[in-house]
C-alpha cells in the first residue's frame, strides 16, 4: 500500500513539475494556460489519490475511510473547477484580444 501511494504521489509531482516547466518555457499566454491548467489537474488528482491510499495504510478503520472519502471529494471538486477556471481565464484573454502566438510569425 505504501509503495503504491508513493508511486502515485511521485507521478503527481512529476506532472506538477512539467506543468511548471511548461509555464516557464512556452511562448505566450494561451500555451502557458495549456501547461498549468491541466498538468495541475492530473498532478493534484494523482497526489490526492496517493494521499487517500496512504491514509488507509494502517488498517481500514471507519474514521480513516471517511477521511479518504473526503480527500476524494476534493479531487472531484478540482476536476470540475480546474477546467472551468482555465476556460474562464482563456476566454478573458480572448475577449481582451490577446493575439495567439503562431509558429509562422516567429519564423519571420
Amino acid at each position: 500500500m505504501d509503495i503504491i501511494s508513493i508511486i502515485f504521489i511521485l507521478a503527481g509531482t512529476f506532472f506538477f513539475a512539467t506543468a511548471t516547466l511548461g509555464l516557464l518555457r512556452f511562448p505566450d499566454f494561451y500555451t502557458r494556460m495549456h501547461a498549468t491548467g491541466k498538468g495541475d489537474t492530473l498532478g493534484a488528482f494523482l497526489s490526492l489519490i496517493g494521499l487517500a491510499l496512504y491514509n488507509l495504510h494502517d488498517g481500514m478503520s471507519f474514521d480513516a475511510l471517511l477521511v479518504s472519502i473526503k480527500i476524494m471529494f476534493i479531487a472531484i471538486f478540482m476536476f470540475v473547477a480546474n477546467p472551468t477556471a482555465t476556460h474562464a481565464i482563456t476566454k478573458a484573454g480572448l475577449d481582451c484580444k490577446v493575439e495567439p502566438w503562431t509558429k509562422k510569425e516567429s519564423s519571420q
Binding site: 512529476f14 511548461g22 500555451t31 473526503k70 476556460h87 480572448l94 495567439p100
Partner: protein
C-alpha cells in the same frame, strides 16, 4: 419526487462531511437539510418528472469518467513530452468547428472534457460552434476525429 432526491443528496453530504453519527448531529443535519431542500429544490433538478432515461444517463456518465481519465493521462504524457523536448515542437492555432450537441449539460460536459485533455482549451461556445485553442496538429486532429463528441452524445442520449 425531486424533494426526496435533493434531501437524500444533501443529507448524505452532511453525514460524510460532519463524520458524526450520533442522534444529535444527525437530527441537526436532518432539520437543516429539510430547510435547504424546501428553499432550493428547483436548483438541482429543473424538471418535475423523472423517467427511466435519467438513471441510464447517470450510469453512462459513470462509465464515461474512467475513459476520460485514461484519455487525460495519455494526453498529459504527450504534453509532458512536448515540454521536456529541447526543441519544443509546438504549433498552436485556433480551431473552430460545429457541434451536433444541443443540451446545455452536454455542451458543458464536452467543453470541460476538451479543456481537461491537455493540448486543447475551449475558449468560447457561440451558437453551437466551438472555438478551441490547440497546442499542435496531433491534438487538434484527435479532437476533430469526433470520438469524444460521440461519446458525450451517447452519454446524454443525443445520438
Amino acid at each position: 419526487m425531486r424533494y426526496i432526491i435533493t434531501f437524500f443528496i444533501l443529507f448524505l453530504n452532511w453525514a460524510i462531511w460532519s463524520g458524526k453519527f450520533d442522534a444529535f448531529h444527525l437530527a441537526l443535519g436532518g432539520i437543516s437539510c429539510l430547510i435547504v431542500t424546501y428553499t432550493t429544490h428547483d436548483l438541482l433538478f429543473e424538471r418535475k418528472q423523472f423517467s427511466f432515461k435519467d438513471i441510464t444517463e447517470v450510469i453512462r456518465l459513470i462509465i464515461y469518467i474512467p475513459w476520460l481519465i485514461y484519455q487525460i493521462v495519455l494526453a498529459n504524457i504527450h504534453v509532458a513530452s512536448l515540454v521536456l523536448n529541447p526543441r519544443m515542437p509546438i504549433d498552436p492555432k485556433m480551431i473552430r468547428f460545429k457541434t451536433k450537441l444541443k443540451k446545455d449539460i452536454s455542451l458543458v460536459t464536452f467543453a470541460n472534457s476538451i479543456t481537461l485533455t491537455p493540448g486543447t482549451i475551449t475558449a468560447d461556445i457561440t451558437d453551437g460552434e466551438y472555438y478551441v485553442h490547440a497546442l499542435n496538429k496531433k491534438v487538434a486532429d484527435d479532437l476533430l476525429s469526433g470520438e469524444m463528441e460521440n461519446r458525450v452524445a451517447h452519454v446524454f442520449m443525443e445520438d
